[in-house]
Amino acid sequence: MDVNPRRLVNIGAERVSHVSNTEFPGHYPNEDHSWNLESFEQNLTVRIHRLSQRSIEFDLIGVDASIANAFRRIMIAEVPTIAIDDVYVFNNTTVIHDEILAHRLGLIPLNVDPTQMDTLEDGDSPTDRNTLEFRINLECSWKDSKGKSTSATPTDDERYVNHQLLSKHLQWIPAGEQLEKLKTAGPLNGDIVLAKLRPGQAVEMVLHAKKGQGKDHAKWSPVATATYRLHPNIVITKPIPFERAEEFKKCFSPGVVKVDKKKRTVQIDRDHMRNDTVSREVLRDPEFKDSVELSRIRDWFIFSVESESAYKPEQLLPEAIGIMKEKIAAMKAAAMELLGGEGGGEDVVMQDET
């Protein structure tokens, strides 16, 4: 895998160079870098690397950082989810203040498919299409035995009934067609501790969950993390003395350097190169620093996305692409309107800056 040096971001001991993409028309003489869908598609590789029920790692190769970053930003801030937004407190005698408890409730990830719900716009009233209602009614009390019979140091479970307010205590009150459409609604994880209670303390609340976007509040963000890093590229330019192979190996992440004891060679493992953190430890060693070149591949994005919402992790990129297309369509419609207004040879009426 010899990478075209134009694709590399060089990494030195104390500096990073060749950071910006140069593939624009007019940058290289006699080279055409204008937009061309066919050559873009030829260059483009999308490859899923690993997938679990909660997270995905995939490679997006052959795009500019602005495109990769657009998808990352949309996954974090613009893919909608459902979260608790309004909390009506009828009773709360726990030590957790109403505001803190309301905030905690908002952060509970809910298992509701956002496509099944509408957004509640300003001035609208809540309906079964845009609002989910939950109730909490919990009171802590002593167990009859008060835990005395069990042990000298009884646990909370042995002493009290309902000594914790957990996310599973949210009771869904389906309205209208919700039961048919959604079947179930509730927290993704039922064991989130929201408050601790003692005998005599009680909570009674009504909660309204709504559809929203991460840009309004992080509770609506469908991801725990959505990040990318550039694929590392490590090249050994001069042979590494075999006596120091183990020391050389320790300068990189596990698996990146292959030491063959029979052939007495030191090599980089291509498949494990992606795991390297590019710590530059190797450049601190006077003997190694001129024997190796560190870089990253500018157009090779290793995305790592963790879903913390009703979306499956593999659904998040298609959702983000869909939203990007909606944004493009909205802008295009507005631009076409301007173009229509331009007709007739008259000058465009310009608005004052506000």
């Binding site: 624009f24 028309p25 007019g26 055409d32 870098h33 204008s34 937009w35 869908l37 873009f40 598609e41 483009l44 590789t45 999308v46 490859r47 899923i48 690397h49 690993r50 997938l51 679990s52 029920q53 909660r54 995939f58 997006l60 795009v63 500019d64 602005s66 495109i67 970053n69 657009a70 930003r73 949309i74 801030a77 613009e78 994880n189 593999e314 990129l317 298609p318 692409i321 990007m324 297309k325 944004k327 493009i328 369509a329 909205a330 802008m331 295009k332 419609a333 507005a334 631009a335 076409m336 309107e337 301007l338 173009l339 331009e342 000058d347 465009v348 310009m350 608005q351 004052d352 800056e353």
Partner: protein, 113 residues
């Protein structure tokens, strides 16, 4: 703000050339997400002399895109072309991603929460 009216999605700012060969467009309710992607796509157009974008204020939901064209061409046409091209780009990434999801033998693993 005095009025609660929604501003137009795209407007041409004061000081644009009458033939729109150089203009600054203000886009409402957009951010770096669209700004940088559009800037890149416009710069891929050989007829664009200059393109840059800015977010004038972090708490206002606007971006401004400046486009200057060669040969007195219309920057509005270039903007529309860039939007179309971006749309195609989104489609091809989506296609390749779906293909990989269906056909590739990637590692599946069980992650405990």
């Amino acid at each position: 703000m005095a009025t609660s009216e929604v501003p137009p999605k795209v407007r041409i700012m004061k000081g644009a050339a009458p033939d729109l060969s150089a203009a600054t467009y203000q886009v409402y309710d957009e951010s770096h997400t669209m700004g940088n992607a559009l800037r890149w796509m416009l710069m891929k157009n050989p007829k664009v002399e200059f393109c840059g974008y800015s977010v004038p204020h972090p708490s206002e939901p606007n971006i401004q895109i400046r486009i200057q064209m060669y040969d007195n061409l219309s920057s509005l046409q270039a903007l529309i072309k860039a939007l179309d091209d971006l749309n195609h780009l989104c489609d091809s990434i989506n296609t390749k991603y779906t293909e990989s999801l269906q056909n590739d033998g990637y590692q599946r693993w069980d992650e405990k929460s």
